[in-house]
Amino acid sequence: MISEKRLGIETIVLKPGKALDNTNAHEMTEAICKAQGEGFKNIILDMEELQLLSSAGVGSILGTVEISRDMGGDIVLCGAGDKIVHILEVLDLCDYLTIKSKDEVDKQYHMQEVN
């Protein structure tokens, strides 16, 4: 189950829960595409609770990030733990994807307003 919280008209927070894998990667793709379709150019993936990221989960992000960037925004991976970051490092994606800490995102997008 992907939960969502809207921060104004440009930014939305999507939270995959504890795992983003085969079982919900498709759901994540649909949630991101729906948000993009509604005009949200900034999509924050709250990964604070995420413990499992599979290839399919990574694929759901890679398949949608360019669209947000074309809209003038981005998909931001927020609060990812060390294991998740390590996976992204192995895939050589840390420079390609925008990975930020919870504090950075709070400051930039005022996440506290909705938490």
Binding site: T23, S54, V90
Partner: protein, 548 residues
């Protein structure tokens, strides 16, 4: 990792850093194995394909992947398209021809190929430029049992790095591993779609379709069938609640009478049957249905399925009834015209008789005048009989007595010979002197002769012949007395020859076709037959055969 949700394995394709190509291959295959296990329980092909493409994207750090699949049994034109990223909205990829010919040319015998390495100048100008243009960097065929199912295309890596040889081999290994599973799941998916398609077709027909299994329980019903069921058993609107009911409950006797026993009898007798109509009694109104029975080739070990098709023909029956009433009114009009026609014949006879009488009186031939007056009396008697017959039209009967056909013919020719109508026509009688007497109604045979002779005269007049001739002849054999009437008038065209002696047919420019109505009744009343030989422009020969 203790909080990982139940059901999620920890060994995913990328949860641990692959240090060697071989290790990475094993991890990738392990990830796909999990994918296969997940979807084997519920073969949702669309979901599987979507997750597979995302997995490939994640494994190889690409944003766009596409699968273009041929649709089974639909020829080269049917395609199914799944994609991630930018490829999702690529109509250029969705429309690609992935027939075996184009793909075998594309692959050139390779299990996969990097498109940038292909030289377009010497081969494969078909789909490669499109794939390149859309951003596909690597193509792999999906081959199962030597059949090309389709292709998987992978976009460029987001990191900008090229695929190395080991990675290409890994992609091929992944796709080869997953292809049999994909093929099977695809088949399930296609069967599901076909089932939906067939149901849509079934529901689109206006006839109610009821399928019963070998134990006569309802197995399938279409929308129109459900409407029929609800007409007589209100309250249930869900087909699922009706399926499983025995046939007696689907067609209860209070509404459908003996339908079910009839159906069971037909089923035992062999199943399929032509349409049979029956009335179903509803609370507010009755409905009329046409029933067709057929057997399905499907069934179970106890027998085949029975298909009942009910076509509501209530409106059609009502229309037919209205038409029948209109036809009755029209028949009355036909009858009135026929009566008028006969009256004119009688009046013609009377007029001719009067003319002959007048001539005889003028010449002082009293005997002949008396003779003509006797015939006039006879004609008036016939007219009286005709009028009496009209009082009881529905009981058209002939009053047959042993009579001489030659005598009737002689009388009629004698009557008409003085008429203006026959003034320029030669009438020849070739009568068999040994002709036996037959059981006939002399007055009605006279009517028949008059009609035919008048028609012959009109046909000669219409042909404009100066040598007009009508011949009346008789002869007999052991079982029949034969009457022949021929003329050399306009004749009858072949296309209407068989329609003569049927109501409302005429060959005359100003005729109405009602005279032969009476002739048909007279022929039928004598159990006689008639044949017509005619050539347009040459004349006609009517042959009547009376049983002795």
């Amino acid at each position: 990792m203790n909080d990982v949700p139940e059901g999620h394995g920890q060994a995913t394709a990328v949860t641990e850093a692959p240090k060697e190509p071989l290790e990475r291959r094993l991890l990738a295959l392990d990830a796909l194995s999990k994918l296969a296990r997940q979807f084997s329980a519920k073969p949702d092909f669309e979901h599987l394909m979507s997750v597979l493409l995302m997995t490939l994207c994640g494994q190889f750090s690409v944003g766009n992947a596409v699968a273009i699949l041929k649709r089974p049994h639909s020829g080269s034109c049917g395609r199914t398209f799944f994609a991630t990223g930018r490829f999702r909205n690529s109509s250029g990829l969705a429309g690609l021809d992935i027939s075996s010919e184009s793909c075998s040319a594309l692959m050139g015998g390779q299990s996969s190929c990097k498109l940038k390495d292909l030289d377009l100048s010497d081969r494969h100008s078909g789909i490669i430029p499109v794939l390149r243009e859309q951003g596909v960097g690597l193509v792999c065929p999906l081959i199962h049992d030597d059949d090309l199912l389709g292709i998987i295309g992978i976009g460029d890596r987001v990191t900008g790095k090229e695929f190395d040889r080991e990675e290409v081999e890994l992609i091929v290994a992944i796709i080869d591993t997953i292809t049999p599973f994909l093929a099977n799941t695809y088949l399930f998916w296609e069967i599901g779609r076909l089932n939906t398609w067939y149901l849509d077709i079934l529901n689109s027909v206006k006839q109610g379709v009821f399928v019963f299994d070998s134990s006569n329980r309802l197995k399938k019903i279409n929308t129109a069938g459900l409407d029929i069921y609800q007409t007589f058993t209100p309250g249930i609107s869900d087909a699922g609640k009706i399926c499983g009911k025995p046939i007696e409950q689907v067609f209860p006797p209070h509404a459908f009478g003996g339908l079910v026993p009839d159906v069971m009898t037909s089923k035992i007798a062999g199943g399929s049957a032509g349409a049979k109509s029956f009335v179903a009694r509803g609370k507010n109104a009755n409905r009329v249905y046409n029933l067709r029975l057929s057997e399905s080739r499907e069934g179970d070990e106890n027998g085949t399925d029975l298909i009942m098709t009910l076509d509501d023909i209530t409106a059609q029956r009502e229309a037919e009834e209205r038409l029948f009433n209109l036809q009755q009114l029209a028949d009355r009009g036909v009858m009135a015209s026929a009566i008028s026609h006969e009256l004119r014949n009688f009046l013609g006879l009377l007029l001719g008789g009067l003319e002959l009488t007048q001539v005889a009186i003028t010449r002082g031939e009293g005997d002949k005048a008396d003779e003509h007056i006797d015939k006039l009396k006879s004609t008036v008697e016939s007219l009286e009989k005709f009028a009496s017959g009209l009082m009881d039209y529905n009981k058209f009967e002939v009053d047959k007595q042993t009579s001489s056909l030659n005598g009737v013919i002689g009388d009629v020719i004698s009557f008409i010979s003085g008429q203006q109508r026959f003034k320029d026509i030669t009438i020849t009688a070739d009568l068999d002197t040994d002709l036996p007497e037959v059981m006939i109604d002399a007055d009605k045979i006279a009517q028949l002769l008059l009609n035919l002779l008048h028609n012959g005269a009109d046909a000669i007049l219409e042909a404009g012949r100066s040598d007009g001739e009508i011949m009346v002849g008789t002869f007999s054999d052991e079982s029949e007395v034969v009457l022949i009437i021929s003329d050399n008038g306009t004749g009858v065209s072949p296309d209407i020859k068989d329609s003569l002696f049927k109501k409302r047919l005429t060959t005359k420019k100003h005729g109405h076709g009602y005279g032969l109505v009476t002739c048909a009744s007279i022929i039928e009343g004598h159990n006689a037959t008639v044949t017509v030989d005619s050539e347009p422009g040459e004349g006609s020969v009517f042959t009547f055969r009376f049983p002795v």
